[in-house]
């Protein structure tokens, strides 16, 4: 017989507490199928728009177990934001136009949608009022997001797609973009591919260090995350990776921290936060000769 339950949701920021809450929600939802699940959002005073990616992934997974998800009593400011970024159109609300151009649409992609994701990024970032981003920063940012998407496709083995969402914070000159998958996670990938058994947070650290790669076949790898870290460090941005129970973060000053969460995220989340006021030139001059060392 179907259950009917209500789960409270607190404010969700792109931080340890925010990811912990989403992991906790995923764990609780694991217990239900064919049920009516209400998320009681009356205490959700805030939601960083980009966090719709991992939240949406967890709710999508619950929906696959034939649960009926209902988001209730959403404070109007949060509801407006989640209507503008398209998240709530998945849950019975109508889309609201974003006149401030601060949202980047929530979307789910299939793993073979690399090119569609590329079009989406062009569309979403072109039409946003991000005047302060230099051409070089814009290009490197998009390339970084493509590298994360490729990593999710290559390593996660996800069957339920890849979830993305972003948010531009005008006042703070920062832009967050989050990509979540519902795959096997980095810890399990290391174990399956190269027999390396590490706690989930150390598994993430292994994956982002140097040219480490789980690749053993005819196609080399291990460059994507390295390029991404280099870019984020130069930009004084922030990089967060959550996979299984692992939490890993690189701060704007280059410092990194990692820890274990009490509840696992059923896949991997990568959040990039860039400093949009960065005036570094990321473009090499086209006259600058780069020898290709074939």
């Amino acid at each position: 017989m179907p259950n009917s339950i209500s789960l409270p949701v607190r404010p969700i920021y792109s931080n340890l507490a925010g990811y912990s809450q989403i992991g906790e929600l995923a764990t609780r939802l694991d217990h239900y199928e064919f049920s009516s699940i209400s998320l009681d959002m009356r205490q959700m005073g805030w939601c960083d728009g980009n966090m719709c990616a991992p939240l949406g992934a967890v709710l999508y997974r619950a929906g696959r177990d034939l649960n009926d998800i209902d988001l209730r009593d959403i404070p109007s400011s949060v509801e407006n934001l989640l209507r503008k970024n398209g998240f709530l159109t998945n849950y019975g609300r109508v889309y609201l136009e974003d006149t401030f151009s601060s949202t980047i649409q929530y979307q789910r992609f299939e793993p073979q949608d690399d090119r569609i994701f590329s079009y989406y990024l062009d569309e979403q970032l072109r039409n946003k009022a991000i005047p302060e981003m230099s051409t070089g920063l814009h290009k490197r940012f998009i390339e970084g997001l493509m590298e994360i998407f490729s990593n999710a496709v290559l390593h996660s083995e996800t069957k339920m797609g890849i979830f993305v969402c972003g948010q531009y914070f005008h006042q703070q000159h920062r832009l967050d973009f989050t990509i979540a998958d519902l795959g096997i996670g980095i810890r399990q990938n290391l174990l399956d591919k190269i027999g390396l058994k590490l706690p989930a947070d150390q598994a993430i650290d292994w994956a982002v260090e140097g040219s480490n790669t789980t690749k053993r076949g005819p196609i080399p790898g291990g460059l994507g995350l390295k390029l991404l870290r280099e870019f984020i460090r130069l930009n004084h941005g922030r990089l967060q990776i959550i996979s299984d129970t692992g939490y890993w973060e690189q701060f704007p000053d280059g410092r990194k921290e990692m820890t274990l969460l009490s509840n696992r995220f059923p896949g991997t989340v990568v959040n990039i936060e860039i400093n949009t006021a960065d005036q570094n030139s990321y473009q090499l001059s086209s006259e600058q000769e780069v020898d290709i060392p074939f």
Binding site: N151, P218, L223, S286, P293
Partner: protein, 122 residues
Amino acid sequence: MDKPIPLKIYEIVGSEFCVAADDGQKVYDQIVLALKRDLQVQLSFLNVKRLTSAFLNVAIGQLYGEFPEGLLSSHLSVADMEADDRELLKRVIETAKAYFKDPARFNRVRNRVLGEKEDAGE
């Protein structure tokens, strides 16, 4: 020396977005076809707007597991590529060379490739 065969990446992929590993495989297959006939190849990136390491690893990095560096160096060249993208390609090639420096890995890949061809009756 014969004029190199131009391989137009845009045309092979059919898009300005050269981002997917599957598309990289199409380029790799074309390059291999030319190299096995001992032809010089010029890879033209004209009109390519976006590249990823995932695409280049498959299209070009993979070649270092099957062909000696000397042969690739004497048979491949690149044209119509932005400086940024040349830098990315350079990193991909350096990574591929390091990856296949491990002789066990190189032999394992080479044997597997040769084995597959024998199985396929080649």
